[in-house]
């Protein structure tokens, strides 16, 4: 594992008003594979990503990317929030949302360049949503909304891609498109982090897994993490094992 292209998380800890959400998490995330973050509800999966990116206050710990604090290199990050965190009645079109991926690269007070517009158009094409460019985001299905957000992430030209529950409530077609893109990004040497709460068949797409339940239970290759003893520790006996139904 080449530490230069990896993220190192050391002693990461998050507390909300005396409730511990993450406790002393230490791990390494590598590029070139898809890393799934799994664990039961309230395990701190989303919190781990938010804490790494500085989106939630951290009580302790440090996160390094290529030897420097990740929080100072957010221009290399593309983040897709949970769909439930977005107000889908916002007056914006698909095109408006994809172009948001170019805001940071465009710089202050500037209009979007033609290069930015081309990249946004290409990203929209990649997720198969070009025909919906002028549609209001509120008129899309859940899967289509997710694909628009993936397009926005692609337009950001990032090195680290963080997706919070991208597979929640989406159709089969979108799932196929999404994993196709994840594999492509991983093969291009990107870091791909995916929070995923369901242990259905989709889990076979992940190369590495991070298993959380407030503390880190296990991390590493999929096979090494999905051992019964790890799963029992994380899910306290109530394992919905990964051949189970995809809720």
């Amino acid at each position: 594992m080449d530490s230069n292209t990896a993220i190192t998380v050391s002693h990461l800890e998050v507390q909300y008003r005396n409730v511990v959400a993450l406790e002393d998490v230490n791990l390494v995330m590598r590029s070139g594979g898809i890393t799934g973050i799994i664990g039961p509800n309230g395990a701190g999966k989303s919190t781990l990503i938010k804490a790494m990116l500085g989106l939630t206050p951290v009580t302790n710990g440090i996160v390094l990317y290529q030897g420097k604090p990740l929080m100072n290199q957010l221009d290399k990050v593309a983040y897709v929030p949970q769909r439930s965190q977005i107000d889908w009645s916002y007056p914006a079109t698909v095109w408006d949302v994809v172009l948001m991926g170019r805001v940071r690269k465009s710089g202050w007070f500037r209009r979007f360049s033609s290069v930015s517009r081309q990249m946004a158009a290409a990203a929209l094409e990649r997720v198969g949503m070009s025909d919906y460019r002028d549609r209001s985001i509120g008129q899309l299905s859940g899967g289509q909304q997710q694909r628009v957000f993936i397009a926005r992430a692609l337009a950001e030209e990032a090195e680290i891609f963080c997706f919070d529950e991208p597979l929640a409530g989406i159709d089969k077609k979108t799932e196929a498109v999404i994993f196709d893109i994840f594999h492509e990004l991983a093969n291009a040497g990107k870091i791909v982090l995916v929070v995923n709460h369901d242990l259905g068949k989709a889990i076979t797409h992940f190369n590495d897994l991070i298993l959380l339940n407030t503390e880190l239970i296990a991390s590493g290759s999929r096979a090494s993490v999905l051992k019964p003893e790890n799963m029992n520790r994380a899910y306290r006996g109530q394992v919905v094992f990964f051949e189970g139904e995809a809720a």
């Binding site: 008003r17 938010k50 990116l53 500085g54 989106l55 957010l74 221009d75 990050v77 593309a78 983040y79 897709v80 929030p81 965190q85 977005i86 107000d87 916002y90 007056p91 914006a92 079109t93 408006d96 949302v97 172009l99 948001m100 991926g101 805001v103 940071r104 465009s106 202050w108 007070f109 209009r111 979007f112 209001s136 926005r152 950001e156 963080c162």
Partner: protein, 298 residues
């Protein structure tokens, strides 16, 4: 007819009132759109009520009352944020507490000042558009230009931030600065509108034109432009109505805006209650709406 429309314009007080009404109509609609899309309409109300004590204190110490009002308006948002982030109190309760406290303090101070000075609480509460001076028109014009310029320059950043604050933060945008900037724009807009409509009705000009436009178009920039157009038309027609029928100007403007909103609510081609495609069931839409209202009551 034309003669009747030109008649009020021979009075310079009407010219000044019309200019300030149009300026306020434009800038409130544009800035208010941000409040609406962030579901922060109540914040507009909170800031506008909170400017009163700043105004009073500035008057007492002989400073510019609009600077005092602006500082108090921004301070109220800081206090609201402080309570929300440092205690388990939720945002709406924090706003309610802060703005009623500021408002009560403002009324108390102005009542004390009123005893010895020629200052009228009612002018701040409801505006005094027919009495605006040329200097006030100029100040409002300057603030309006500054606010609109900032919105144009920061349009893409503010769109990203107001739509997806976490995504914007993760992309490295300085979201706290953007949020504070937005609060400053809102406070400036409210201060610029004080003389025209007063602190109580300014919320209507901030929210209603944008909300009306929201029912008709699908992008934020379209919402701002159409909202500003509605604001202009409402301001001008409200002023004329108040002139010809001898009605209070601020309320007349607000009532016209509300009328536009009602029309859009009922007849918007895409979302109107009476025109929305789902009414193709053959049932007369007004009857259908009445029936569903009855059903809720039962």
């Amino acid at each position: 007819m034309l003669q009747a429309l030109i008649e009020p314009l021979q009075y310079s007080f009407m010219q000044r009132s019309l200019v300030i009404a149009v300026l306020v109509g434009i800038v409130c609609a544009i800035v208010g759109s941000y409040l609406m899309v962030q579901r922060l309409a109540l914040l507009g109300d909170a800031i506008s009520h909170s400017v009163l004590p700043g105004l009073a204190i500035a008057f007492m110490i002989g400073a510019d009352i609009f600077v005092g009002a602006f500082i108090a308006g921004v301070l109220s948002t800081v206090v609201i944020t402080f309570i929300r982030t440092r205690s388990p109190i939720k945002e709406d309760a924090a706003m309610g507490i802060v703005f009623s406290a500021f408002f009560a303090l403002g009324i108390t101070l102005i009542t004390i000042i009123q005893k010895d000075n020629k200052i009228d609480l009612n002018h701040f509460l409801f505006g005094n558009i027919l009495g605006v001076t040329a200097e006030e028109v100029r100040n409002t014009a300057i603030i309006s230009i500054v606010v609109v310029t900032v919105v144009v320059l920061l349009y893409k950043e503010l769109l990203f931030y107001t739509f997806d604050p976490l995504g914007a933060q993760a992309a490295g945008l300085p979201v706290n600065l953007l949020n504070f900037g937005l609060m400053v724009l809102i406070a400036l807009t409210i201060v610029a509108s004080l003389t025209a409509v007063g602190v109580i009705l300014v919320l209507a000009l901030l929210i209603t034109p944008g909300a009306t436009a929201y029912l008709l178009v699908k992008r934020l920039n379209q919402m701002m432009i159409l909202g500003a157009a509605i604001g202009i038309v409402a301001s001008i027609s409200g002023m004329y109505i108040s002139y010809f029928f001898n009605l209070p100007s601020g309320p007349a403007i607000v009532l016209v805006t509300s009328g536009f909103f009602t029309l859009a609510l009922l007849f918007s081609p895409s979302q109107g209650i009476l025109t929305y495609p789902q009414s193709s069931s053959g049932v007369f839409p007004v009857w259908r709406e009445l029936k569903s209202l009855m059903r809720i009551k039962n």
